[in-house]
């Protein structure tokens, strides 16, 4: 019966997609009002003005453009125009690096906070203040102090992905069952060994959940950060095409951002499942 449920869900999904594309197509078919204009004037104007073409591209336009991009994803026409594959690689690289640094900082710190109520209380006010700051608000400060735009982008990724991991790690570590810790204590297990063999496995699912939230946020933020700093990356691509008011390319970028974000999330979801244990 599960298979058929899946099957039915897939049909509903496809139907929804079909309806969405159909409505989209109809809504953007154009045919808006056009003022009469002399042919020499019309030659100087865009299609929106001359043929009443909707400013929003239809699904067919997007499909055709997407095919064009997929045919040559790695072209390089100079510093300001690169293929989508290269742009995505830049973005993923930045997210990867910023995220990795965040993992290196957040997990040990989270352990400390979780294991020591004193540190937890002492650091709490700082964390509470720093956590809700929008990562992009750091950007001007980062640019000013770090003096390098690509490192600033990585810093912004770091600062936004560090908090969920830190808090989840601390929460997970603090929430390890007292009995297990007590057993370890009666067996005279050292602190370091206790952290690695008892607490880490017990807290792993919570930690990974934090990491999964973080990667989602990091991916959200990179697009905005790259729009701000420019240069390379999928965010820069969106900005560059926006500059040209090419909504078609912006939609394609949105689609790709969604797909990559989903992939990153799925990878961490798989890791989470690997460390989850039944109690």
């Amino acid at each position: 019966m599960t298979l058929s449920l899946r099957f039915r869900a897939a049909i509903v999904s496809l139907a929804l997609l079909g309806v969405f594309l159909g409505v989209w197509h109809l809504a953007t078919r154009g045919g808006g009002a056009t003022a009469t204009m002399s042919p020499e004037y019309a030659k100087l104007m865009g299609l929106t003005a001359t043929q009443g073409k909707s400013a929003m591209p239809g699904p067919l336009d997007v499909g055709a453009k997407l095919w064009e991009h997929l045919k040559r994803p790695f072209y390089d026409n100079g510093p300001n125009d690169k293929g989508l594959g290269i742009q995505l690689a830049y973005s993923i690289g930045r997210v990867g690096l910023g995220y990795l640094i965040a993992v290196i900082v957040a997990i040990p710190l989270g352990f400390m906070i979780g294991m020591s109520p004193l540190i937890s209380k002492a650091l709490d006010p700082f964390i509470q203040v720093l956590k809700p700051i929008s990562p992009l608000a750091w950007m001007p400060l980062a640019l000013y102090t770090i003096k390098d735009s690509s490192i600033s982008a990585i810093f912004v990724i770091f600062i936004c992905s560090v908090w969920p991991m830190l808090l989840n790690t601390a929460f997970g570590v603090a929430g390890v069952r007292k009995e297990w810790i007590n057993v370890a204590r009666t067996l005279e297990v050292g602190t370091v060994r206790r952290a690695f063999t008892v607490i880490l496995p017990a807290a792993a699912p919570t930690i990974l959940t934090g990491m999964r939230i973080s990667i989602g946020i990091a991916w959200l933020v990179i697009v905005a950060a790259e729009m701000l700093v420019g240069g390379t990356g999928i965010g820069y691509f969106v900005w560059n095409e926006w500059n040209n008011l090419s909504i078609t390319n912006v939609i394609i970028a949105i689609l790709l951002i969604g797909l990559v974000g989903m992939l990153l999330d799925q990878v961490l979801a798989r890791f989470t499942r690997m460390v989850t244990f039944p109690e």
């Binding site: 002399s38 100079g78 510093p79 300001n80 125009d81 003096k147 900005w239 560059n240 926006w242 500059n243």
Partner: protein, 459 residues
């Protein structure tokens, strides 16, 4: 006619005109008036002539002796004899790069608007390469970012709004860092665009309560729009709302009805028309014909650490600007800068801006070949005018030494030297007066000028 130092009849006096073709500045002016000074054939020829004159001058410091020598042996022999003990060709090459650039690989930031035309086109059309530079022009997201990246030395030089280097040097909106402008990019080339719904509301006095977008606080756009509104009796600080909006967002905001209009750089104005969102109210040229807009800027530190690179860059920009100033080159330029790597806009839009034959958004086709123009000379009086407006609108508080700042930032003297070395004719002074909306500006009396405005921010 060419500059021939081996012509016995010609004078090599140092007081000759800037283009080297005439005996005195007066004669040059006369020629310019009658048939315009003939442009030199090629850059190399131009340098060769200058070098040859210099060598002849060195060998025969006295004109009489040189003439006697030339008369007795003939020009051909003289040239042959001279090149034997002084290799003219090598000297010409050495002069052309004036010492090898300290740094060959340079990064220059730009904002994708037609104001940046000389900076951008110099890459695809090879103006940088000709000066032995390998320049990467990097598109940047906004004025604040371009400022920060240039201050951070990620860029060696950058396209900036003409008032920005002054603001940075004075420490307005940033730490004070000495910046310089060796060349202005474009003059004119902006416009006031209004949303279609204001088609019948063309009188500025009816604009109370409207929302306008400008690209940046320290921009000619800000000063020109404020000036225009104030001349029509509106106080730009209280009667209307002015918002800093990055140019690409302007068209989208106009479409979404978030703003009523903007004074923006082109291709943005034309783009709004092209997409049927707005119409051109006036060109900025109608406010002040020949106003500067964007500049080519570099930090003073870059000049001191890499003077030869800086000189080569200035030469490339001056050359490119001269090339862009010619109407016959504009179509080719539009095609060169339209791709996604540079401005990323439809060629039709860029062509309309650069050739000056454009749709006005109201069904008419207009022609104005000076809609945008290019003139590299950094007039210091431009800087003085900007300072008066910065004071007028409260960006500068207290006293300011107009001339000192203008001379610090706008490098008219250096540019003059570079232009003369290139065989071009720089203007004799760095101050000229001009008129903005019929009111003349005397750069010698900035404070009187400032005091003459009724509408200004009370300080």
């Amino acid at each position: 006619m060419s500059d021939d130092p081996f012509d016995a009849e010609r004078d090599l006096s140092r007081s000759g005109c800037g283009c080297g073709l005439h005996r005195s500045p007066a004669e040059h002016d006369h020629a310019a008036r009658t048939l315009r000074c003939e442009p030199v054939v090629s850059e190399e020829k131009r340098y060769e002539g200058i070098v040859a004159s210099a060598v002849m001058r060195a060998v025969f410091p006295q004109d009489v002796a040189r003439r006697a020598f030339l008369k007795s042996v003939g020009a051909a022999t003289a040239l042959a004899a001279l090149s034997q003990f002084f290799p003219l060709k090598t000297a010409t090459e050495a002069f052309a790069d004036a010492g090898p650039p300290e740094k060959k690989d340079l990064k220059i930031g730009f904002i994708p608007i037609t104001c940046a035309t000389p900076i951008i086109m110099a890459a695809p059309l090879g103006f940088y390469a000709r000066q032995g530079l390998n320049v990467e022009v990097v598109k940047t997201a906004g004025w604040a970012v371009i400022r920060d990246k240039t201050i951070n030395k990620e860029y060696d030089a950058a396209h900036m709004l003409a008032p920005m280097p002054i603001a940075i040097s004075l420490g307005l909106g940033a730490n004070a860092i000495p910046f310089t402008v060796p060349a202005i990019e474009n003059i004119n080339g902006q416009g006031i665009t209004l949303a279609m719904k204001h088609k019948d509301r063309r009188a500025p006095k009816d604009w109370k309560g409207m929302k306008f977008a400008i690209p940046f606080d320290y921009s000619m756009h800000n000063y020109l729009l404020r000036y225009y509104l104030a001349e029509h009796g509106l106080d730009p600080d209280t009667d209307v709302q002015l918002r800093s909006v990055p140019p690409p967002e302007m068209v989208a905001n106009l479409r979404a009805d978030n703003i009523d209009g903007f004074l923006a750089p082109d291709n943005i104005c034309q783009r709004a028309i092209y997409d049927g969102v707005g119409f051109l109210h006036i060109l900025s040229k109608e406010i002040w014909d020949g106003h500067p807009c964007c500049s080519f800027a570099a930090s003073r530190e870059f000049i001191t650490t890499a003077p030869n690179s800086f000189a080569a860059l200035t030469r490339a920009i001056v050359d490119a600007t001269g090339y862009a100033a010619k109407a016959e080159n504009r179509k080719q330029i539009a095609e060169a800068i339209a791709p996604a790597n540079y401005i990323n806009a439809p060629v039709t839009v860029l062509e309309q801006v650069l050739t000056g034959t454009y749709a006005d958004g109201l069904g008419g086709v207009k022609t104005d070949p000076k809609r945008v123009d290019f003139d590299p000379f950094p007039w210091q009086s431009f800087a003085v005018w900007m300072l008066t407006q910065m004071k007028r609108w409260g960006q500068i508080k207290g006293d300011v030494d107009y001339r000192a700042v203008a001379e610090q930032v706008y490098l008219a003297t250096d540019t003059k030297k570079v232009m003369a070395e290139m065989g071009l004719t720089p203007p004799p002074t760095a101050y000229k007066s001009f008129s903005v909306m019929g009111k003349s500006f005397d750069p010698a009396k900035p404070d009187d000028y400032l005091a003459s405005f009724k509408i200004r921010k009370s300080s």
